[in-house]
């Protein structure tokens, strides 16, 4: 009995060393599980598909369930990698976070609107229906049309968390699904205000859409500022591991941070990290 196990271990070891000398690494028949943030999950899924193609035999499982699940599963070992769409809290220092992208959103108004920035309190008052006219924040005499996102969207979650609002507090005139619809809605409405992923907004504004991105707390609304971590309405998208990760997990995290996946990050309207 003992003997057989030893022999099998030997065999595996031999295979391992044999394989590592080839182009395919030792973990070629392994399985990797990621769980956590539903914001990160769609991106992780795309990265995983590409990773699987590059490493035949490797299976990567991605399950969403919220950042708290990502933390809990990475701690318990239920998943080798947790997905967390925020910076780690001080009591989560037992985990190691690697940022794979930044998520940033920008408030947008119609280009004919003279407003260039709003304070947090003004935004809150507008979104909760206490301010109904642009005149009250120094603009022209025009009714404000509040554009909100549909429930379940990560942009809504980030917006609500930043302004410490509940979705039921918001008094919206228009509820939209994706970023493009948000831009078209504000572009069609001179009194409109909305928020969309900053990458999309910047791209559309520079390609003729009649919208303006609002600066926040003196920081210009720009992808570059999100990348530097200076723009207030932004958050890091992290992969977290506990202790020393397996070579496979390490390989996946490195791949997710590499320039090889930048097109995937941009396709999901997230902001890529500055090349190191």
């Amino acid at each position: 009995m003992h003997n057989r196990i030893n022999r099998r271990q030997l065999l595996f070891a031999a295979l391992g060393t044999g394989a590592s000398t080839l182009s395919s690494p030792a973990w070629s028949a392994e399985r990797l599980t990621l769980t956590g943030s539903s914001t990160v999950a769609p991106l992780a899924l795309e990265i995983a598909k590409r990773f699987e193609r590059l490493h035949p035999g490797v299976r990567v499982d991605v399950q969403s369930g919220g950042s708290s699940r990502g933390i809990a599963d990475a701690r318990s070992g239920a998943a080798q990698i947790g997905m967390v769409s925020r910076a780690l809290n001080p009591d989560e220092r037992d985990l190691t976070a690697s940022t794979i992208a930044m998520d940033g959103i920008s408030l947008i108004v119609h280009r004919s609107n003279p407003i260039t920035t709003l304070s947090d309190d003004q935004v809150k008052a507008i979104y909760t229906g206490q301010i109904k006219n642009w005149r009250e924040v120094g603009g022209s005499d025009r009714t404000i049309s509040v554009v909100n996102k549909a429930e379940g969207r990560s942009t809504l979650e980030l917006f609500l968390a930043h302004y410490q609002l509940k979705n039921s507090d918001i008094r919206a005139q228009v509820v939209i699904g994706d970023n493009q619809q948000g831009i078209k809605t504000v572009a069609a409405n001179p009194g409109g205000i909305g928020y969309v992923s900053i990458g999309t907004a910047e791209f559309e504004a520079s390609h003729g859409a009649p919208i303006r991105l609002l600066d926040m707390a003196g920081v210009p609304a720009a992808v570059a500022e999100v990348r530097k971590g200076r723009f207030p309405l932004s958050r890091p998208l992290n992969l977290v591991v506990r202790g020393e990760p397996s070579p496979l997990a390490k390989g996946f995290v490195a791949f997710a941070r590499s320039t090889a996946v930048h097109d995937l990050v941009e396709a999901q309207f997230f902001v890529t990290l500055a090349p190191n």
Binding site: E151, Q173, V174, G177, N189
Partner: protein
Amino acid sequence: MRVASDLIASRLLGAFAGTAALLLALVLGFLMREAAPVLSAGHVWHFLTDDGWYPLEQRLGLLPMVWASLAVLLGALLLAVPLGLATAVYETFLAAPAVASVLRLGMGLLAGIPSVVYGLWGLTMLVPLIAGWQAPGTSLLAAVLVLALMIVPTVAITGAAALARVPLPWLQGASALGLSRRTLVMGVALPAARGGIVAGIVLAAARALGETMAVLMVAGNVVQTPGSVFDPVRVLTANIALEMAYATGDHRAALFASGLALALLVLALTAMAHLAQWGAGHAP
């Protein structure tokens, strides 16, 4: 020999018809299974009594969206049915052959335009127009107008087909009696074609209820019981399309429940149309 082939054909066609019915049952069964987490445990009343739709806060009031769906449908039918029928009558009885064929072509084209194009037109042309009058523009009115435009061809095409099937001797007889053209159309042709016309209207109504993309783009999608035509509203289909991609757990189940509500609404509509047609004379 002929009897045997008839038997085979009838069995085969019966099997196809049975499959279609089974598919409907499967879809309904699937909707119920997926909606089960929120349908069980006395949750059903939440759909009727909750004061808003905030699924992540466990508030699941569906009624405002049911009213919005019905209001949009009613408004679209009120505009599209007279317009569509007038087009059908004009094309069949009044227009010169060349004009009629151009009209037929135009209606066919209108029916073939993808709904998202109507939505885009509504969002970029209609909504700003309404916004200049009453902000925010995305509203019940915009949804009604876009939908009416989309279902006019359905009413017109099916109406014209039904009118064309009215037996020529009936029309010739009416002419021979010296009836005016108005009496001929209103008193003979339209009543004779009633069955086909009603079927066309039901088809148009079902399309209006099921339409998602165009309504999603112009209706504003705020969950509220419409108080005026300028209020933004969210219909049941838009609710599913807006939230499904990112919904998990009970939120997802609640969306399946709104799909179930929509299916029941369409079934009720079809049943009502059947009742309305009961005993109505069909053109032979």
